[in-house]
């Protein structure tokens, strides 16, 4: 327990968390500080490019673990499954309508890649290692949850015209983040150490600094969202936003242990399961489920669960992963 607290304290004064807090504070104080949309998008392309490539290069270096396929399958299953748990919890705990509950549930099955990146940083500073292909697992977990959300609607009613818009599946599977992450992973794998040497001073050295600036922007956005959506965030919803990642992480823990991953790998699986999407799933929900209220699902995933994971969640998952794997 002391270990968790020390780790959490340590984590809380890392520059990336502090810049996130600065962004939150600036937004609450209604400062006009802002990062141009194009620059924020450019930084997110950079982060996807860098972690994808590094993951691939690490697979090239360590050889292909026999559990890669199994991990991908496990990721897909978790992404399908977690929305059902979230949906049940939401219907019991909160007064959300079927449509809103299904939409929120879809977000929690999917993942937040920035939370994944933050967990990777923590792994690195804890001197641990992790399976490079976890990046591919992350990509795998982005989409299936959306299908679960739509199935929940179709099953439990709610939206009159629910059902798949033509082309939506293709759009989800080929969304830019997935394509860039998977593509960079494959290129990193193909070009291996030689490729990494070529571009290391672009994707390795400045990575933490870019992450700081990016989290500053995330703080600004999350803070502005929370300020706008104060009304939405009643206590049961807030509670859900904190409990659900803890529950999700247990599924990730189970998967990681069954697969026999390293301590770092288990932590990453826990983090992926615990995190909630705020890019791919909201976009899909706007198309397929326009009746669902975006300020509910965005506030929960970006305003509550994301900061929770960043600050307290990851240290907790790490402590658990260490205890359980003995790593």
């Amino acid at each position: 327990m002391d270990g968790i607290l020390a780790l959490a304290a340590d984590n809380l004064i890392s520059p990336i968390i502090l810049f996130f807090a600065l962004g939150l504070a600036a937004a609450f104080a209604r400062s006009d500080l802002s990062v141009p949309e194009a620059v924020a998008k450019g930084m997110s392309l950079y982060l996807l490019f860098a972690i994808g490539f590094k993951g691939g290069a690490s697979v090239a270096a360590h050889g292909l673990d026999a559990t890669l396929i199994m991990s991908l399958v496990a990721g897909a299953i978790l992404s399908f499954l977690i929305p059902f748990v979230a949906f049940a919890l939401l219907r019991v705990m909160t007064g959300l309508s079927v449509v809103d509950a299904a939409a929120v549930a879809g977000h929690y099955g999917s993942i937040s890649i920035v939370t994944f990146v933050a967990a990777s940083s923590v792994i690195a500073s804890a001197g641990l290692d992790s399976e490079g292909y976890m990046v591919a697992v992350a990509a795998m977990m982005e989409a299936p949850a959306i299908l679960s959300a739509l199935w929940l609607i179709a099953r439990f009613g709610g939206a009159g015209q629910g059902g798949m818009e033509p082309g939506l599946i293709r759009e989800i599977l080929l969304n830019g983040s997935i394509v860039l992450l998977v593509g960079s992973f494959l290129i990193g794998w193909i070009t291996g150490q030689e490729g990494l040497d070529l571009i290391a001073s672009f994707i390795v050295a400045p990575f933490q600094g870019v992450l700081c600036l990016f989290l500053l922007d995330m703080g600004l956005v999350a803070g502005r969202g929370l300020r706008e959506a104060r009304g939405v965030l009643r206590p049961p919803l807030f509670l859900f936003g904190v409990m659900m990642p803890l529950i999700g992480s247990m599924f990730g823990l189970a998967a990681g242990l069954l697969l026999g991953l390293s301590t770092g790998g288990v932590l990453l699986f826990m983090t992926l399961s615990a995190s909630a999407s705020y890019i791919a799933v909201p976009a899909a929900m706007r198309v397929a489920l326009p009746e669902a209220n975006p300020s509910i699902y965005l506030t929960l995933s970006l305003g509550v669960t994301f900061p929770f994971n960043l600050t307290l969640g990851i240290p907790i998952y790490l402590a658990i992963a260490r205890t359980v794997t003995g790593g």
Binding site: S34, V35, P36, E37, A40, Q161, E165, D217, M218, L220, V221, R224, G225, E228, A229, Y278, I279, P282, A283, M285, R286, V287, P290, E291, P294, S295, L298, L302
Partner: protein
């Protein structure tokens, strides 16, 4: 300078729906349209601004079509079929155009 009567239709719609709207317009025989970026706005669902968006889901665009008056109904039907369940504001103005052969 010789001008011709036309209609100018403006549709504010979420960015995620843009390609669906474009496809519907082209299918409805609209020969041209122009898409303008939107920085932010306010409506029944509150205020928003492009710089406060992590999500592709958040933004809007404004689609402007200039058409011959007799095509208006087809266009509105097409636009309405997309906008119906979604956020979107559709407005129609009378205007005059140069070079009517282009429309």
């Amino acid at each position: 300078m010789q001008t011709h009567k036309a209609k100018r239709v403006e549709i504010a719609i979420e960015s995620v729906m843009e390609s669906r709207l474009s496809d519907a317009l082209i299918e409805a025989g609209v020969t041209g349209f122009t898409i303008l970026p939107v920085l932010g706005g306010s409506g029944r669902s509150g205020r928003w601004s492009r710089e406060g968006q992590v999500s592709r889901a958040g933004g809007m665009v404004s689609v402007v079509c200039i058409i011959r008056p007799e095509k208006l109904d087809d266009l509105l039907d097409a636009a309405f079929s997309v906008v119906d369940r979604h956020i979107g504001v559709v407005s129609v103005l009378d205007c005059e155009v140069l070079r009517a052969e282009r429309f």
